[in-house]
């Protein structure tokens, strides 16, 4: 009896404390809301929002609902995260590999980069890029074209827009190419296992991915033209660019700082991963006659990726969460649009903050579930 009681009492006390705390909070919340005449509910989501958002991926104006505003914010968050993740990965891998370079100057340069950007708060970096560096850019009328078509101005980056005809045919051709490559890979593996012959899979893949889309241009009726931004005078001193796609400076500052900051962490992950593969592995692989490319592809990378991917996914998650700092420079992301503007207008603090938190929570929980699953899949099976 004693032992059982000893197991139950601490649990009971903990649960009691948790329940009491939550009960206390809900009780107070109810009383406070009664006193202030606020009613709890998510009905406001379908009401007209009547505020505007500067930058939106989907059609949106004041006449749309709060739920649509939420979607606008969510999409903007996802946009900045995806762009940031792509650039951070590219930069991080380059820097991580450079840190292992035998060249003293290169690895010191990489180390300097990592130490420099890692030790400065992200918010400060965002402010720096947005308020100091990007403010030094030229006005639209003074901007020089980069490569003839990009215009980097104080009002944002203007890039040419693609104008497609029969875009779906083009996409189908790419999908077809990918499917074909997968099939050929499987076939090549079978051939290697049964006959020991190696097919030039890489070159076939490269050929396919170029030729099929090209065919779609030639015979599929696909055509592509560019709309190059043109300078337009609004008033005597006010110019903008028309046509093309314009990326607001907030987006540029945010992606730039997120990518530069996160890349330092990814670089460390990559370095740890490559260092984590024992020297003996490379030597053993070389001694059974694999060439350097094969050593990298078949022996080093599979093992290094096992070490690299979990912490890197974590960094992607961090980047996504850090993108909420957008609120500081008025980039209309989820926090600014929903937890900022919408909250001010409706006063529904509990509902809105809880929705915002749940969104981020579900995002990160789903990624971490995915990561755990992946981790389990690639973990070394120990006896």
């Amino acid at each position: 009896m004693d032992l059982k009681l000893q197991k139950i009492i601490p649990q009971l006390i903990t649960v009691l404390v948790v329940v009491l705390v939550f009960g206390f909070f809900t009780y107070n919340a109810q009383i406070n809301m009664e006193n202030r005449g606020i009613d709890f509910g998510y009905g406001f989501l379908s009401q007209e929002s009547s505020f505007d958002v500067q930058f939106s991926l989907i059609e949106y104006d004041g006449s749309h609902s709060y739920f649509r505003a939420y979607l606008v914010g969510l999409l903007n968050t996802i946009l900045v995260s995806v762009i940031g993740i792509i650039f951070a990965t590219i930069l991080g891998v380059i820097v991580g590999v450079a840190r292992l370079s035998p060249n003293y100057l290169i690895n010191q340069f990489a180390a300097f980069y990592v130490e420099f950007f890692r030790n400065i708060p992200l918010l400060l970096q965002i402010f720096f890029w947005y308020f100091a560096a990007l403010r030094a850019l030229p006005l639209p009328q003074d901007a020089d074209a980069m490569l003839g078509v990009f215009f980097l101005t104080i009002k944002g980056l203007y890039v040419p827009a693609f104008i497609w005809e029969n875009l779906n045919v083009f996409l189908y051709s790419i999908i077809a190419a990918i499917v074909a490559i997968v099939v050929i890979r499987i076939h090549a593996r079978k051939v290697q296992e049964t006959q020991g012959k190696q097919l030039p899979v890489f070159w076939i893949s490269v050929g396919l991915i170029f030729i099929l889309p090209l065919l779609s241009f030639l015979i599929g009726g696909v055509s592509l033209s560019f709309e190059i931004p043109k300078l337009k005078q609004l008033a005597t001193t006010s110019f903008i660019y028309e046509g093309g796609v314009s990326l607001p400076p907030e987006l540029i500052a945010l992606t730039l700082s997120l990518a530069l900051y996160t890349a330092t962490f990814i670089a460390e992950c990559v370095r740890a991963g490559i260092q984590g593969v024992g020297k003996g592995q490379k030597e053993a692989a070389a001694s059974i006659g694999l060439n350097p490319n094969q050593v990298l592809k078949l022996v080093v990378m599979p093992q290094a990726l096992r070490i690299i991917i979990p912490p890197t996914t974590n960094q992607y998650l961090n980047l996504t969460k850090n993108s909420s700092l957008a609120a500081a420079i008025a980039y209309p992301d989820l926090v600014l649009v929903f937890a900022g503007t919408a909250l001010m207008q409706t006063g529904k603090a509990i509902e809105i903050v809880s929705i915002t938190m749940l969104t981020y929570l579900s995002l990160s929980v789903s990624i971490s579930i995915l990561m755990n699953w992946y981790n389990k899949k690639i973990a070394i099976k120990e006896k």
Partner: protein, 480 residues
Amino acid sequence: MSKINFLKPDKENLNTFLYLGSFLFVISVIDVFLNSFFSLNITGFLPASLSFIIPIILGFIGLHFIRIEHSGYKFLDQVNKNINTNNFNAILSLLIIFIVIKATPPILSWFVIDASFAGDSKDVCSGGGACWTYIKVWFRRFMYGMYPNAEQWRINLSFIALALLGSVGYFATEKFKKYLTLYYVVIYPFIAFLFIFFFISGGPVFFDFSYGIIAAVISIIIGFFIPGRFKFYYFIFVPITLYIALKYFIFYDELIELGKLDGLNWVETGAWGGLSLTFIISFFCLIFCFPIGMAFALGRRSDFPLIRYISIGFIEFWRGVPLITVLFMSAVMFPMFLPSDFFIDKLVRCIIAISLFEAAYVAEVIRGGLQALPRGQYEAAKSLGMGYWRMHIFVILPQALKLVIPGIANTFLALVKDTPLIFVVGLLEIVGMLNLAKTNPKWLGFAMEGYVFAAIIFWIICYAMSKYSYNLEQKYKTER
């Protein structure tokens, strides 16, 4: 004289290659150097595009010539091994050297040569360089926020005193070493709180919290005489009872009256700011998040399923949301959850929010350490007849914490770097003050100087912390 093969330098004509290669390399460096420091273009007679890439070509050929293995010269071998292993590396090395040479003059002139230091108005900043006058004029604001100038000695005094008290560990003799943990975990934070409360904010001598302290002290003293198996329950219930008894039944009003006798001016937390606020917040969050995180790490590995699930829920919740939404919650949502007559200061809410947030990360780091310990350690401790707490305090935690020093240091670094986010609730630490100063109509256009200044400060703090943690890691590294 034997044949000289320019495509493949060899040892036969070592000196020829050496002189030729070094000469070409030096020429290329000098060209770039003159170009960037004195804006002289010694290859100006060539077409513009050729003149631009000529240093790279010359340097590349030079490096190719001096790439001779086992030349017999130690220095040359070192150079070849480190920056000149093959053509690709040679070009990268050259590019980096040239970039450094190119970047030095503008950076130097912006920071020092063209910068203005003197004066105390915007007029002196007409040069092309940085305007450090701006930093000088605003220095007090950046350090102390809106804290009244006449009272700033209180912050300085508190920080100096706390730094001195904090360094006690270095001077402690062997005899007192065993009390150090107690000192740093319990006594020092408490002293720090008193300093901040009495000195920096100028609080009353007695306040609600004093009863808590008195209650805690009395119950700890009595606690020594309580038999071990009841201690846990004793320490949960008795201090709270004592606190209520003291507050509601025994000389409450008298003490509050007494508390009003103090002489320091009350300074609202809203007026605190600048770097000192960064320190205050980081300090308290560091202190609070560690024990909370440790508790949840133990909870997550507990044998009791209910405790385990609660801990997992807590950790995953805080780790899943961005700090900015947590601060939003503490600002707009948390007051709704409290009784309407109950008021918690903005700064305290911030500290609670950040501590809970970072505690989840600390918990995960410590859990990693706990998992890394071999089972044998647990079993050995149990076989010696140790209970749960004894086992963890004397055997498991000392080893586990040693293992996770780098992880904990990273979390603490993240915490320090997260403090600027408190702008969300309207508190202005150094970055917030910069944004405020930047919009001052008298001092427009110096955003760059401000951010560079703050970046340097943060960089020094964070870099020092990471180096310190590295030293700690080396110091406590035990062969396993």
